[in-house]
Amino acid sequence: MTALLEISGLRVSYPGVDEPVEVVHGVDLVVPQGRKVALVGESGSGKSVTARSVLQLDPDATIAGSIRLGGQELVGAAPKIVRGIRGSGAGLVFQDPLTSLNPVMRIGWQIMQPLVIRGVSKKEARERGIALLDRLGVVNAAARFDDYPHQFSGGMRQRVVIAIAIIAEPALLIADEPTTALDVQVQAQVLELLHEVADERGMGVLLITHDLAIVAGFADDVVVMRHGEVVESAPVDELFAAPKHPYTRGLLGAIPRLDSDPSVRLTSVADYVDTFETVDDEPAAPAAENGAAR
């Protein structure tokens, strides 16, 4: 198994008030060819920042360390190289299908775009777009190809977003909370679809999520992040059967599940590790002062 994506010692920082603030502190992560890796963490864990730094989409971010995609080093690479891998090296699916489509552009145009900018003829791009949309379960794909995003439901929009992400046949798909905004039934459909499409095309998947339950059915490997660091990474069965890190144990114990005894009290992460609830707008010092979560 060769590594498709190899992140090592990744540090990401943003310009702060006085000095840059580091939000990802040396993350190591590997996505092998054709495998599905879940990057799990709560808000503020840096999981999204880590995933996005692969495509270097945030011009404000300062990235250090190493990100190799298919052997190609991306940190410090020329903008042209980075742009070259966007779409065809790695595709991206966002959390909110309502905001990730351009409201004034026809969805067909948006699906074709990755191909058209790579020199594929419009006719062929259109055919491939319709075929892909059809494959993704959009009924009457040819007729709906020229619709606008607001004419689609949330679940359908997310399929369109997936089509945009994979039409240029990337080797890696980065899915950033792809189902968080969806209802549970649609979530199941979309996850299943991602699963199938990834297997068909032999794509590696990096799934970013806060939901350990969907990880169980989707991922081969799991990486758990907290406060910008990786606390544990293991194959999925191992992680769920015998979580090593107390934080992971805390997370697992905090999830209400359909197959557990409801009279057993949920545990909380705080029962396992020292926590303070991060306070928005007031990190460091005030958070300590507020540290009253129990």
Binding site: V17, S48, D58
Partner: protein, 296 residues
């Protein structure tokens, strides 16, 4: 306690660009602007006492003197000291502006609140009235009022106030409507809070902040209309030291008495810039996404 960090990592966990220009406290330009605003208000109050000459005394022998030690801003075509007139004019221009904004604010808040909290019919009627007010530039409507009331600063003030309030009513209405549907207001209703307490304690305090900003920003806009009306001869009349009227009387001598034109205009421009910058600063400060810690 300013921190960009958590804001970009918040719920969607998609890093958004945080506004770049954020520093501790008040930025330099805005700090200067606040000082200038205070200075201008002080001048508007004590102007007549610090003016070196009688701003209205005509002395044709002294006409169109360039700036000098005796007359820092020179003299106008009637030999009046421009500096004295600018100082006294501050009072004329700013008090007229203040009166317009006060009337506007009162009408706007009342109409806007009634429209937002009253029934659908009330809302519809009031808003259609404001539509008409907004469909025409103030200065055009003000000309209409001026022809009805006769030229003069008072009629200019009445005219502008009469045409300016719809914008405020619109603003108040939209903010109050938004606040009314905020979850904390619903929460107060669910708690059993009385209607009066709901409006005075929950809705209005959370609605009026943008109004202060708007008033600050509008000082410049209203001042420009007043001086514009005076400039074309519809507002303040001849001997008045209103800044726009001063520019009007200097306009015929653009080429041989620039100072009589430049200084009152600078007074308008500086006042407008200072108020606008202060307003911008207020706006940034009250924007909840930008607001820093610290209870008020």
């Amino acid at each position: 306690m300013t921190a960009l960090l958590p804001a970009r990592l918040r719920p969607s966990s998609s890093p958004r660009r945080a506004p770049r220009r954020r520093r501790r406290g008040v930025p330099v330009a805005e700090r200067i602007a606040l000082v200038v605003v205070v200075l201008i208000i002080v001048i508007a109050i004590i102007g007549p006492w610090i003016a070196p000459y009688d701003p209205y005394r005509v002395d044709l022998a002294q006409a169109l003197q360039p700036p000098s030690a005796a007359h820092w801003f020179g003299t106008d075509v009637n030999g009046r000291d421009v500096l004295s007139r600018v100082l006294v004019g501050a009072q004329v221009t700013l008090s007229a502006t203040g009166i317009v904004l006060l009337i506007t604010l009162v009408i706007g808040v009342i109409v806007g609140t009634v429209a937002a909290l009253g029934g659908r019919v009330v809302d519809e009627v009031l808003m259609r009235i404001t539509d008409i007010g907004l469909a025409l530039p103030s200065i055009i409507l003000a000309l209409g009022f001026a022809v009805a009331l006769g030229p003069g600063l008072q009629s200019a003030v009445v005219a502008i106030a009469a045409t300016w309030w719809p914008g405020y009513a619109r603003l108040v209405r939209s903010i109050v409507r938004e606040t009314r549907h905020a979850e904390f207001v619903e929460s107060a209703v669910a708690l059993g809070v009385s209607r009066w307490r709901l409006v005075t304690k929950h809705i209005l305090p959370n609605s009026l902040d943008p109004m202060y900003v708007q008033v600050t920003l509008d000082v410049a806009a209203v001042m420009l209309v007043i001086s514009g009306l005076s400039f074309v001869g519809v507002g303040a009349q001849v001997p008045s030291a209103e800044w726009g009227a001063m520019i009007a009387s200097a306009a015929d001598n653009v080429l041989n008495g620039w100072w009589a034109l430049v200084f009152p205009g600078l007074a308008i421009a500086i006042t407008a810039i200072a108020f606008n910058l202060s307003g911008d600063w207020l706006r940034v400060r009250q924007d909840p996404t930008l607001r820093d810690g610290g209870a008020r």
